[in-house]
Symmetry: C2
Subunit: 363 residues, 2 copies
Amino acid sequence: MPSMDVTGHISGLGEDAPHHAAASGASSERRSKTGAVSIRDVARAAGVSYQTVSRVINDQAGVKPATRDSVRDWIDRLGFRPNQAARALARGHTRAVTVLTSNTTLYGYAATLQGIEEAARASGFSVGIRVLDSPEPADVKATVEREVDPAVGSVIVIAFDVAGVHALRSMPPGVALAAAVEASEATRRHPYPCVWVDDRTAAAEATKYLLGLGHQTVHYVAIPYLTQVSDRAAGWRTALREAGVRVPRAVRGGWTPQSGYEAGRKLAADERVTAVLCGNDDLALGVLRAMREAGRDVPSDVSVVGFDDAPQSEFYAPALTTVRLDFVGLGRDCFRLLHAQEEPSHATARLIVRASAGPARRR
Amino acid sequence: MPSMDVTGHISGLGEDAPHHAAASGASSERRSKTGAVSIRDVARAAGVSYQTVSRVINDQAGVKPATRDSVRDWIDRLGFRPNQAARALARGHTRAVTVLTSNTTLYGYAATLQGIEEAARASGFSVGIRVLDSPEPADVKATVEREVDPAVGSVIVIAFDVAGVHALRSMPPGVALAAAVEASEATRRHPYPCVWVDDRTAAAEATKYLLGLGHQTVHYVAIPYLTQVSDRAAGWRTALREAGVRVPRAVRGGWTPQSGYEAGRKLAADERVTAVLCGNDDLALGVLRAMREAGRDVPSDVSVVGFDDAPQSEFYAPALTTVRLDFVGLGRDCFRLLHAQEEPSHATARLIVRASAGPARRR
DNA sequence: CTGAAAGCGCTTACAG
DNA sequence: CTGAAAGCGCTTACAG
């Protein structure tokens, strides 16, 4: 693979920008050691006590409008910004949530994070993020211990995989916690609230759809999971059994198109394979390529269905029939649930029929 | 588009998990109002002053090993976790960085975030994230004002777009700031350090590559940008001019495959179009589909080159020739730069030649 | 409507 | 090697 190199650069200044210049005309040039403008500086300038300033910045009632305006004015002029650490300490908590996840680039994870952030922002919460780079229980536990502070904020874990589930297990007691998980995890006994998408039912529906197209059976390329079978695999298997149809071995895949491609090559070599359900769209993309290379046309020779409905899947060749999961909504609900807000709307899954699956060939 | 609905659920318990049970055998059942174990609780249990506990948790030298062990032991038994807010307040700063970005799901952004998080974690920094949902200067400014606290932490802005650049412009003085930007932004005068990838050179190289394949000229589908031309567009145009070749109008696209598809339809209708460079891989994916639908084969009828090298692009049909940008490395460098760490390695861009571009037809 | 006091849980000099 | 004091910048009752 030929390549040309084009290097990028790093530019910058050696020094920090100067601190905010003191307001002109003010007699209150005194600054605390940190160099930042404090509530007392504002109070002095406005000629009130610092408690009044506190009331103003917290939008509390009971401040004479004229006083409030004057304080606000001085806040702007001095460039005052409340110190969040001091607030958190005095209040006993922060409006903050930290999300633990093993990944930030895979579509499902990124979209869930987006939903969490959206909801958190709407509620005035700040959001922290920490990735679990190793799925080893000891590593996950160490990260959790280091990162989670029950006294300071709440936590959400995106537990679509082993690392996430371990994080849930090693969470110290007393932390405000919510999780986004697979259905089977949600139904199990646990001391935290969680949101989930019913992968199992969705996978069963997709399988039935394929069977309804006349395929003798449906093959499955699995995403990794901690237990032998994930919910998606379970839904697929159940649908096959209920239809009284042969249940093939699931092919184990990873999270990437590459692993889908490898799985697809095996499947393509088997003449009997006419329909394959994939654990996610990336896997499906790899399978699509494997089929193409093997000269097996999709959908006339083999039907392929994905999972997730990533934004790109509609443009694959052919357009991918897939199960749409509302990850953004899931993340949003997860945050709302954590903070006991009402109307936690449903996370929904539905099959989006496009061009990658079609009727089985007549034999 | 037919669909079947499969609803998901929310499960959970009404109450929080109980707080950590008090250690057995300890005579120090007294807890502060917050209910959390404090440094004083540990000190009392271990029979030392709380300053000593502070030394232990900060790994400071000058504590007798036996004392240290005893304190550590009590920390574990009582489940003590230092309150980060109190630490931040006492220290005058936090080991925290908050990243401002307009998006968390697009590949380039997500990968940059990943790099930042990696580097931050390695340095013991926590990372916060805030998305700039509106590109309006006033909205961006409001978010910055609300979110950024010079006294508490540093900030990184991912400024690949208008929103990010506005965030940079409205940053209050005195904050420790670094940015990931386009080259033209980096070379301009600014009071903060930044990392950048040389998009301009990379785009020029890609254009020359296409010209070298014998194409009369190269068309360009642009990603959005604040100014008339982005660096990528500028590099493309310059290469064309230097080759003394006709410079077509750039087609304005968005960030999505859909917008690439729309741009692609226009291009496909023009017989003279035989080579198109796209501002990102998603755009290229849309162009690929438009060409296919128009019956124009890629690469024999028209060559298509992308930008970014998202993990999926290798599996597109045909495999996409594209410019690989090391976003993860860029994010990592950005964090290191912010904290003045040495060896800020280069972010590199290089053309990855695959199957979507080929020789021009002989006329 | 506004102010004086106490305290949130740590760290940072300063003593000993 | 260890302890007593002061203080980080706020908020939260409590007075007036």
